[in-house]
């Protein structure tokens, strides 16, 4: 069992809450056999009005929400495409909380829905045991940033793992 070194308020204590790492993958429980599916994809786009017009006015999708992007400077719209949502993110070149340095339009992240929080945790452990960079987002989602995924697939896109219905969209693999 692999121990975790933790600190609280600069008090250094050993925490025996364990991360099992007997060998590569061998000590980590298998993930849930079923993967509920893709919850959402996030597209960085140049013109939010035009993108919303395409999805909603032309293709007939529903607009679930539109407002500030939250994690980065910019505005986003969440589009209902039936079994999943598409987040259209127009990153701004100034403003709060942070400016995204690379605002080139692209597929920014794919959010995979897991069956529950425990399933997310198992998949997170497996990613760490496989040597991938893993970060935790604000709503408990696991983020494999583009830097981690680029070496596997050759281009930069984030992968987000979150329990189905864990919260609203908008978690960017960019952050």
């Amino acid at each position: 069992m692999n121990m975790v070194w933790s600190t609280e308020d600069d008090r250094r204590t050993m925490n025996d809450e364990t991360v099992n790492d007997e060998t590569v993958m061998l000590g980590v429980p298998p993930p849930a056999p079923e993967f509920p599916g893709i919850a959402s994809i996030e597209l960085l786009i140049a013109d939010l009005d035009a993108a919303v017009a395409l999805f909603c006015d032309v293709l007939g999708c529903g607009l679930l929400a539109r407002g500030p992007a939250g994690l980065i400077a910019g505005e986003q719209a969440i589009i209902d495409v039936g079994t999943m949502t598409v987040t259209l993110l127009a990153a701004a070149d100034s403003g709060e909380p942070v400016v995204l340095p690379d605002r080139t339009p692209r597929l920014a992240s794919i959010e995979l829905a897991t069956s529950c929080a425990a399933d997310t945790a198992v998949r997170c452990l497996r990613a760490m045991e496989a040597g991938l960079i893993v970060a935790t987002g604000r709503r408990g989602e696991v983020v494999l940033p583009p830097e981690a995924i680029e070496g596997a697939i050759g281009w930069r896109v984030g992968i987000v793992l979150a329990a189905a219905h864990a919260g609203d969209g908008g978690s960017s693999g960019e952050l």
Binding site: N2, V19, E22, T23
Partner: protein, 358 residues
């Protein structure tokens, strides 16, 4: 133009730093030699990853994994950065050994920035020749959203680097202060076309080495990689001016960050070493193998799938290592398997590796 000033540091932090590193040195010196080599094997990998900044598997500073898996799925750029960082570590290790035997007085020398940069940029990780070992001749600016700070013109760099190196090598201040100061100064001067972060982090190691009993700060750089936000924040806290002006800049926040993270890293190293010793003892007892065999089993666990070359540092004698491996394989405790392609790198391209079968 002048190099930034060398700031003072709270004496209590210096004492804490010294105590933490002494306690770790004591623990390492008293650990069974083979367990000590196991620790060095893992920690060296983490330091190389940290110099290269390929990012750690876990970036939670409040819950750090004691035995993180090796980074995998690396890009070509990552691999080339690792190759350069590995060469830098070998250089540092060699200099520390030369100092230990009395052949040189200090690990750091006035040539060190250029040597490090040549080693780091020699493999051309960005795919472009960035003049390894040479200072830049042209201006360097960030995009405004990345950083508003403007570095000095290329023509000023030689004198600024010389001034910063002079303070880092000769000022009457603790090595941990001078080491972090030099990193701050080099990151502010930004004297190379590329590779400034890697070179500056490696320079911290070179200066810090001269103040430590072990001749190596095993803890700091891993913490800088885990707490990347703190690292950038401490750097930018001292650069609250529009453009480089050494007299208006303040390395204090970075020096404090460097010293605190080094102290914390030493505590983590001690916990990591103790954890390894416990694991080796537990494997030895549970499986009825001697401590050398148990150490190799734990090393295989740490690598998840261990190439033969990765286990070499555990033994001073290659034939002896092969003998131990044969015994563990023939008894069914270890087994050769194909290494996942994601783990095969330029440094360790082996197709096959060992896994622990219990």
């Amino acid at each position: 133009m002048i190099a930034p000033h060398l700031p003072p540091l709270d004496a209590g932090l210096v004492v804490e730093h010294e105590q933490a590193h002494d306690a770790f040195a004591e623990a390492l010196e008293h650990a069974p030699p083979v367990v000590g080599r196991l620790f060095v094997m893992l920690q060296r990998r983490l330091i190389v990853e940290s110099i290269a900044y390929v990012q750690p598997v876990n970036s939670r500073i409040d819950q750090q994994v004691l035995t993180p898996a090796p980074r995998s799925f690396l890009t070509e750029t990552h691999e080339l950065r690792m190759e350069g960082a590995n060469a830098v570590f070998r250089h540092l290790d060699g200099r520390a050994e030369m100092k230990r035997i009395g052949a040189i007085e200090l690990v750091i020398s006035s040539a060190t920035p250029y040597v490090f940069h040549a080693l780091l940029e020699g493999p051309a990780p960005s795919g472009i020749d960035m003049n390894p070992g040479m200072l830049r001749a042209y201006p360097f600016d960030w995009t405004p959203e990345e950083n508003m700070f403007m570095h000095p013109p290329g023509r000023e760099c030689p004198a600024l680097v010389e001034g910063a190196m002079d303070l880092a090598m000769n000022a009457p201040a603790p090595a941990c202060v001078r080491a972090a100061y030099l990193t701050f100064a080099m990151l502010s001067i930004h004297p190379f076309a590329d590779g400034n972060g890697r070179t500056s982090r490696a320079l911290y190691m070179a200066v810090a080495a001269d103040g430590l009993r072990l001749g190596m700060d095993w803890g700091a750089l891993e913490q800088w990689a885990v707490d990347r936000t703190g690292y950038i924040g401490a750097l930018q806290a001292g650069q609250r001016v529009e453009r480089y002006r050494g007299e208006d800049m303040n390395a204090a926040a970075f020096v404090e960050f460097g010293t605190k993270t080094s102290t914390y890293g030493a505590h983590l190293c001690r916990a990591r070493l103790a954890n390894m010793a416990e694991r080796v003892a537990a494997v030895s007892e549970a499986r009825g193998v001697d401590i050398r065999q148990a150490t190799i089993v734990v090393a295989v666990q740490l690598y998840r799938v261990a190439a033969r070359s990765q286990l070499a540092p555990l033994s001073v004698d290659a034939d002896d290592l092969d003998g131990v491996l044969e015994g563990l394989i023939s008894s069914g405790r270890l087994e050769w398997v194909l290494r996942p392609p994601s783990m095969r790198t330029r440094l360790v391209p082996d197709e096959h590796g060992l896994v622990d079968r219990g």
